[in-house]
Amino acid sequence: MSQHNRDYSLTGRDAQRAVETGLASAEWYHTDVPRKAMKEMMKRKDGPAIRDTVIWLGSMIVLAGIGVALWPSWWSAPFFLAYGVLYGSATDSRWHECGHGTAFKTRWMNDVVYQIASFMIMRNPVTWRWSHTRHHTDTIIVGLDPEIVFMRPPELARILLNFFGVIDAFNAMSAMLRNAFGIISAEERTFVPDTEQPKVIFIARVWFAIYAAVIALAISTGSILPLMLVGLPRLYGAWHHVMTGLLQHGGLAENVIDHRLNSRTVYMNPLSRFIYWNMNYHVEHHMFPMIPYHALPELHALIKDDLPAPNTSILDGYREMWPAVLRQLRYEDYFVRRELPPTAKPYKAEYHQLAPSMLAAA
């Protein structure tokens, strides 16, 4: 059975169909982990995230300082490029971890970093908290998950433009303006509760004021330097979070309820793992979102025998994903079915009786 003309809209035909076929808010597969080990790994700590935040923000201040001092010489470029990655990419994972509330033990620290990161990555902290909640309930379920990047057939031009944040930033600015004028879209209404919508509008107005001030400063000084520090790094520094983020689910199954089939764990170099805050352990994160980023390597070691073999590097991940994505241009139903090791519990047929993409692969 093939599923042509997927409708990824949250208010469309496939949303309705996912509810009817039991894919919405379904019971997902979890590897068995002893409660004692889980409790140990779930424990919250401030130390690792304080250390990482000091390095992250400290580096941004130093790099921005040198960049500004050398401006407008081209010698400032490498410093801005590095600053841009910390602004336009490292904030993706900070937004994510602090949104889950697991990065720090102390609540207000999570909240402060969440607000800062949300601003830089241009995701309204209220809207995106709820969209990400839905992403975890209905991961890569067509019509329900608002965070599917590789819709089929994949729009490659859009994805390539997003390496420079072009589409994301445009959408973010449009949403900010719309929200600042008090309008919540029909899609946003499907996952943001009524009681939270005034907060969406408030944040959008605060951000609007900040961007207006930065633009006014740029105009009054006759220089784009203020925008090189605020706003534009979301474009010129986006590439790393797109590079790592595409690997999370790209080329894998849709409409399944086992994260081993729709998520990808990839071993990465230490620098990328710092920027990405260990989200390369993505199957593990989706299966157990309670585990803080700093404990994900431990969780991975504990459950890896029940998971498909991880990709050994970013390059290895792309070697698997990219041909699959290209094939999806012609065959929408194609996906990579990841093999399990003999030690793993098999994919359960009954979990996927209603999943068209699994049937397509059978």
């Binding site: 808010s25 909640t133 309930t137």
Partner: protein
């Protein structure tokens, strides 16, 4: 009519932890605080009906394992998004090393 029902032994729950207790077609969560007190709430999170048994107890807070929503398990109060609706709580007593909750 409400009645006291034996849920577990006092030692069956570790300090700062919870266990699941099913009775009469309903499911509950029974907690032991870091100060050795016992509490009980409905077992299912009010957000998407996921059982709280896999969650994390921190002081007097239970964090849901699905989306990290938080409740004060003494009062059932919803503390952090995405939970917006409070949990029901139940009276608890400990007698002769057994934990009883009042339900019905």
């Amino acid at each position: 009519m409400s009645q006291w029902v034996e849920a577990c032994g006092a030692g069956d729950i570790e300090e700062e932890d919870l266990i699941r207790f099913d009775h009469g077609g309903k499911t509950y969560a029974v907690y032991r605080s870091p100060n050795d007190e016992y509490f009980a709430t409905d077992g299912l999170c009010t957000h998407e009906k996921v059982h709280l048994e896999g969650g994390l107890v921190m002081d007097y807070v239970i964090e849901c394992p699905k989306h990290n929503g938080r409740f004060d398990y003494r009062t059932g109060e919803a503390l952090a998004a995405p939970v917006c609706v409070n949990l029901n709580t139940y009276p608890v007593k400990v007698e002769a090393g057994r934990v009883f909750i009042k339900i019905g």
